[in-house]
């Protein structure tokens, strides 16, 4: 302002033009730097990600040839998908379907196991996350150290993927659904604990003060002051988590932790290609049905919350 006062003052419109040009130049420079960084990172990660790898392919006449990996792989992808498709004809539909789902008894059992793993893991995870969420929320933690430890615990539990926990638990608790339940349960506890503690941090503290004034301990304050406030949110998050856990438990068998995943692995290694599509269809339908059911249930619960108390 003072510098501008010495020279002849610009008309406001000219001042605007000068400022506009300045800002535009700066924005352009920012864009340039950001895009150079982006493309450098893109190229580097494409190189790390094998985009420029060359591979040998066999031609129809038997000769070998060097090709880029992506054009070499795409026909193989098509072939693979074509192999997984079942051979269905309209006039022999029943027997074709029976052949496609030839292991349906085993699959049905495993499907029930998958859903039960998800159920049990959700139950354990809700329990763990619920208990840990109170010491892990800033406004409710009894002291700093408890807060720090419970937060780190929840972070480790949710940052390590459930498949890694499953690998560790399969070693400890041997192969079977128990390892899967514990693995998904631990991961769920971490993820839900964080969500719950965020809910806890947004509650009204006055009911807790009331309980404290009436002589309640820390547990009384949580039980009668905090829990009634957070319960509706917790139910909603829990149902969402159940959907996620059904997906997780359908693949966790890949490392031997029970459920349909082990059939995937077997079908892949025994080259039973049509089994893959059958299994995929089963998981797809199950996930759809559970998503739909839990959405209906969630809307019902939310509706109940808003409606007159029953």
């Amino acid at each position: 302002m003072t510098a501008a006062a010495d020279v002849t003052p610009l008309r406001p419109i000219d001042q605007f033009e000068v400022d506009y040009a300045f800002h535009k130049r700066r924005a352009k420079l920012g864009w340039l730097i950001a895009s150079v960084l982006f493309f450098a990172f893109f190229a580097f990660s494409a190189w790390l990600g094998d985009f420029f790898k060359v591979t040998q392919v066999t031609n129809v006449d038997g000769s070998r040839e060097w090709r880029w990996i992506i054009p070499a792989g795409l026909p193989r992808l098509g072939e693979f998908i074509e192999k997984t498709l079942p051979d269905l004809h309209w006039d022999s539909l029943g027997s074709d379907l029976a052949e496609w789902f030839w292991r349906w008894k085993v699959w049905l059992n495993l499907l029930i196991e998958t859903v039960l793993i998800a159920f049990m893991a959700t139950a354990l995870g809700v329990f763990g996350g619920f208990v840990m969420s109170f010491p892990a929320s800033r406004n409710l933690a009894p002291n700093k150290w408890v807060l720090w430890f419970s937060r780190r615990y929840l972070e480790i539990a949710r940052t390590v993927p459930e498949l890694v926990w499953a690998l560790i638990f399969v070693f400890c608790f041997s192969v079977g659904p128990m390892a899967g339940v514990l693995a998904i349960g631990l991961h769920t506890a971490g993820a839900l604990g964080k969500l719950y503690s965020e809910v806890n941090e947004n509650i009204d503290m006055r009911p807790l003060e009331g309980v404290k004034a009436a002589g309640g301990t820390w547990f009384d304050q949580i039980r009668y002051g905090a829990v009634p406030q957070v319960l509706p949110n917790i139910i909603s998050y829990t149902l969402l988590r159940f959907e996620i856990n059904v997906r997780a438990s359908s693949i966790i068998g890949y490392v031997g932790a029970g459920g349909l995943g082990q059939e995937f692995r077997e079908a892949l290694s025994l080259q039973e290609y049509t089994d893959l599509s059958a299994l995929f269809l089963i998981i797809f339908v199950t996930v759809m049905v559970i998503d739909y059911g839990s959405e209906k249930l969630r809307h019902r619960i939310i509706g109940l919350e808003r409606g007159p108390a029953t």
Binding site: S45, G49, G73, V164, F171
Partner: protein, 285 residues
């Protein structure tokens, strides 16, 4: 004025429903809890949760955890380089998968938005398409791509990219629908074409939302690309499952800690970008 116990008892007898649920509600609650406990108990039986098995398992888990301290450190530079290449591969998988998914999903997402695509059947088929793509587990996609492109990060990248098409398509089209109509009307009123009304009316509203969605998905893809390695799609997960298979628990814990550190750094950087870019745009409003 504290009521005596006798008074309280008296009131409870006069107005029982004020102190407890109606019989119907109570029956429903008891029924639900019984169902839950019964199912849980049956699971415990079916999955062989015997105390002995839990005890043995916990002992083994204790042994495994005892390898965490002191943390294992590789001694030579090539070994460290291998670890960091694997970590870099994991981030690269997440990054490229997100970008490739974004490139395809961004144009496609317009098909699923009510305020842009008015053709009912096209909009709904686009939305069902996103749902179907989302139903494919990333891990299963990775298994399919490994068949075609061999072991390595490329399969992971494509798996993430395909599953991101569905996620981005759905989230972007929802963001497009949640915009205000007024800027669009303004552009149309000053003579703008339909394309201009989208470009100047809708895009400025959704870009911050899109950016936030992209960053969030990138973070979550960093986590899932760790898993993809376990089935053979390269990166740190491959190394981790290799070390677990060889029972090198000390190295396993170091790798897990490095994964956690990597996730922290990625979350921090994306938080930085988010506050910088979105914060700046909010200032201009």
């Amino acid at each position: 004025m504290t009521p005596t116990n006798a008074q309280i008892k008296d009131w409870m007898e006069k107005q029982p429903l004020a102190f407890r649920d109606t019989p119907a509600v109570r029956a429903r609650k008891i029924g639900l809890w019984a169902l839950f406990i019964g199912l849980f108990a049956w699971c415990l039986y079916d999955f062989n949760f015997s105390p002995e098995r839990i005890w043995v398992g916990l002992q083994r888990l204790g042994t495994v955890i005892s390898f965490m301290f002191p943390p294992y450190l590789w001694e030579t530079w090539p070994e460290w380089l291998e670890v960091f290449t694997a970590l870099g591969e994991t981030v690269a998988m997440a990054f490229l998968g997100t970008v490739l998914g974004l490139i395809i999903a961004f144009p496609v997402s317009f098909l699923g938005a009510k305020n842009i695509n008015r053709i009912f059947w096209l909009r709904h088929s686009a939305r069902r398409g996103y749902d179907i793509i989302r139903a494919f587990e990333t891990l299963i996609l990775a298994l399919i791509f490994i068949r075609a492109f061999g072991l390595g990060p490329l399969a992971g990248i494509l798996a993430i990219a395909v599953s991101e098409i569905g996620t981005f398509g759905k989230l972007f089209s929802e963001a497009l629908e949640n915009t205000s109509k007024r800027p669009v009307e303004g552009v149309v009123a000053s003579g703008g074409s339909r394309f201009q009304s989208i470009l100047y009316g809708i895009m400025p509203q959704v870009l911050p939302v899109h950016l936030s969605i992209i960053l969030y998905n990138f973070e979550s893809n960093v986590r899932s690309s760790t898993i993809l390695g376990i089935v053979g799609a390269g990166g740190i997960g491959f190394m981790l499952s290799d070390r677990i298979a060889g029972l090198f628990w000390d190295q396993v814990w170091t790798i897990i800690l490095l994964i956690i550190a990597m996730v922290y750094i990625v979350d921090y950087l994306s938080g930085l970008i988010r506050t910088r870019v979105i914060g700046k745009w909010e200032g201009a409003h």
